[in-house]
């Protein structure tokens, strides 16, 4: 028999969050990632701009406010239905800048290449990244390349960093979610994650599904032009999905969020795949959707602008900010029950039966 002290010490079965080594879950966008950010990065680097923990930092500079964000891309496979690591790396950072309420101005690109990568693959990736930033009208103004030994990488890793200026009158921050605000999602969720799963080794299932990877900065700019300061929070729910993004917002703003299961737009193919794999679409990654938490008086205008855009045709109100359960997200289930929505401990794992 263990006494309590012994139990908490050597004989504790497995303190998963105190692994002596890095686990994949530390990059999964769930609780492990949040712990790493809080306990290691904030402890080492903490400052007012970082502590906000938004998709990008907002810095006061002479003449205005600058949004500044970085992201690294390690997707497998490198080419997937609806995109590739190049377009994804462009869209990801453009979107992070857009989620600060800013118009992207310039980007950097860093490549980490694995020895032996076919030059033709690299060319396709570079072309794709170039096409994506040209469509967005954002120049790549600086970059870097490193090559690692064969076997030390998955072909290509890409880091992109971007900057952009925030227009006057726009004030986006996770802490601005307030009682009565409405939660809008710009379209059908969980498409990217399922599209990637569908081509992973060992799990090829037949689907016409393509990643939703897209540059959202144009649409976000039009939403902000129409609704201005009525838009309080923007977030692109990438890793960890809509659920993790909403939990982060609820915790930052110390408000409750109530979402309606039936209102959340999920396409049939995605739902079917999630049913088979035992995944909850709320936790599956998106690369071309965003959440907007807006004042009730601008909801109509925001929806009108979103639905007029090919990227926002399925935009829907999925919930509201409430006074109850501050810091938590509650879901009203399709059969009428209530349940809490929390961050996941690690990645979702396909289940046995």
């Amino acid at each position: 028999m263990n006494d309590f002290a012994g139990f908490m010490g050597a004989t504790c079965p497995i303190p998963l969050d105190r692994y002596p080594t890095v686990q994949l879950a530390h990059g999964g966008g769930g609780r492990f990632s949040a712990q790493l950010v809080r306990d290691m990065y904030l402890a080492a680097f903490g400052n007012p701009a970082l502590d906000v923990l938004h998709d990008g930092a907002v810095l006061d500079v002479p003449g205005g406010r600058l949004a500044f964000s970085t992201d690294s891309f390690v997707v497998k496979p490198l080419f997937f239905p609806g995109g590739d690591i190049g377009s994804l790396a462009a869209h990801g950072t453009l979107n992070d800048i857009a989620m600060c309420g800013a118009k992207p101005m310039a980007m950097s690109v860093g490549f980490i290449l694995e020895e032996g990568l076919p030059m033709d693959d690299l060319w396709r990736i570079v072309q794709s990244l170039g096409a994506a930033v040209r469509r967005a009208g954002v120049p790549v103004v600086t970059g870097d390349t490193k090559v690692v030994d064969h076997g030390s990488g998955d072909g290509v890793y890409i880091n992109t960093t971007g900057i952009g200026m925030i227009p006057p009158g726009v004030e986006i921050a996770p802490t601005r979610a307030r009682l009565g605000d409405v939660v809008i999602v710009s379209g059908e969720i969980a498409v990217h994650g399922i599209a990637i799963m569908s081509v992973r080794e060992g799990l090829e299932f037949e689907t016409a599904l393509e990643s939703d990877s897209a540059d959202l900065s144009g649409l976000v700019g039009r939403v902000l032009a129409a609704a201005g300061n009525g838009v309080h929070v923007l977030r692109d729910p990438t890793r960890g999905g809509v659920a993790s993004a909403l939990v982060e917002i609820a915790q930052s703003a110390q408000v409750g969020v109530l979402i309606e299961e039936r209102a959340i737009p999920v396409g049939d193919e995605v739902r079917g795949a999630c049913e088979i794999l035992g995944f909850d679409p709320l936790y599956v990654a998106n690369e071309g959707k965003f959440l907007a938490i807006v004042a009730p008086e601008v909801v109509g205008e925001v929806l009108r602008v979103m639905r007029a855009d090919p990227l926002g045709q399925q935009a829907a109100v999925i919930g509201e900010v409430v006074g109850d359960h501050p810091g938590r997200v509650i879901l009203h289930s399709s059969v009428g029950g209530l349940r809490a929505v929390d961050m996941l401990s690690g990645e979702q794992l396909p289940r046995i039966c």
Binding site: F7, Q35, S333, D342, C353
Partner: protein, 362 residues
């Protein structure tokens, strides 16, 4: 989505709830066997929609949760071997053994791979003749046919480098263990629909008769569960016992006889240790002697590994329905999905993880 939305409709749910409210006159304890059902119950909030005096007890039907600690330790020992490619369904890889889990073995350099079917593991074995490929054959009667098929396929292909670590368990002996245990509260069962899709429900008649209880074969959608609960309560209120089939769209009395024959061909029934419960006689499947060459325990000589379970974890009480997860002093504090003391907190279908994930703290 066709064939799914129909089973998640609020108006229909309301009708079942009204009916259940009308027929319930006194407290009843009903166990849903399967972890998938527990997950639906908590995810859809069904246990809080039904009348308060109908108590759902969450049963031991999560194969991940009941896989014994020592078997997980054996899996870890095998997965650490350099010549081994260790394959597993996804939800086993985070289950803690005595000192680690398969994910951390992978982080240390072990070749641990998630597969979606044991037949994929056979393919890996065929493609890697210089490596030993082991599949962690976990599950109830639902996974047994595919696991048996993988062994038959490997034999037919002449593969010498494929083996399974078997943790197959059986539902009926577990039901009898629960019903026969001192302090048992369970008065009726919702049998696991998918197990019955394979096995039929002929095995449950004698149990229903012996213990004079209703057993309702039940599906996994919210309305399946509401209907199953209503059928079980109606039987209890009317003093009836016997087996009924709510999940008739998937389950027949005989079940899938070809799958049953395949299980018979490859496996034999024997005693099996269940995590948190202990040994239950004749409750597991092991490879028959003629398939012994495919038994990973023998191939890697890990039979001698034993393990002591955590003293603080009350998984046994949870899995037998004697306690609810949040009644455990360690729930949500010393035991969370990030730091589980026992398996029910790890698997998505474990009762403790379902309670934690969906915010059931009281």
């Amino acid at each position: 989505m066709k064939y799914v939305d129909e089973y998640r409709d609020e108006a229909s749910a309301r009708r079942y709830l009204d009916a259940l409210g009308r027929i319930t006159t006194r407290p009843w304890y009903i166990m849903e066997i399967c972890g998938g059902q527990t997950h639906t119950v908590v995810k859809a909030g069904i246990d809080r929609l039904i009348p308060e005096n109908v108590q759902l007890v969450h049963g031991p039907g999560c194969p991940v949760c009941v896989t014994s600690l020592e078997l997980i330790d054996k899996a870890l020992a095998i997965a650490r071997r350099p010549e081994v490619i260790f394959t597993s369904f996804g939800d086993m890889i985070r289950v803690p053994g005595s000192g680690a889990d398969l994910l951390s073995v992978k982080a240390e350099g072990g070749d641990v791979r998630i597969v979606y079917s044991p037949l994929d593991a056979v393919k890996i074995a065929a493609a890697n003749p210089d490596r030993q490929v082991v599949f962690f054959a976990v599950g109830f009667e639902t996974t047994a046919p595919a696991n048996a098929m993988s062994v038959v396929r490997a034999r037919d292909l002449g593969l010498k480098n494929y083996s399974i670590l078997s943790s197959q368990v059986l539902v009926p002996p577990a039901m009898e263990a629960i019903l026969g245990a001192p302090g048992n509260l369970v008065q009726g069962f919702l049998a696991a629909g998918h197990v019955c899709a394979v096995m039929g429900y002929w095995e449950y008649g004698p149990i229903a008769e012996k213990y004079r209880i209703p057993v309702v074969v039940t599906g996994f959608e919210p309305l399946d569960l509401l209907q199953g609960i209503t059928m079980a309560v109606a039987a209890l209120e009317e003093g009836r016992h016997g087996v009924e089939n709510q999940y008739s769209r998937a389950v027949t009395y005989e079940g899938n006889t070809r799958a049953q024959a395949l299980i018979q061909q490859v496996f034999e029934v024997g005693d099996r240790k269940w995590r948190g419960i202990g040994e239950i006689p004749m409750s597991g499947l092991s490879l028959r002697e003629e398939f012994a060459a495919f038994d990973a325990e023998r191939r890697f000589q890990v039979e001698a590994i034993t393990a002591e379970e955590s003293a603080e974890c009350i998984a046994g009480d949870i899995l037998r329905g004697l306690k609810k997860p949040h009644e455990c002093p360690a729930f949500g504090t010393r035991c969370t999905p990030d730091r589980p003391l026992g398996a029910p907190m790890v698997s998505a279908e474990g009762a403790c993880a379902a309670y934690y994930q969906y915010g059931r703290t009281v």
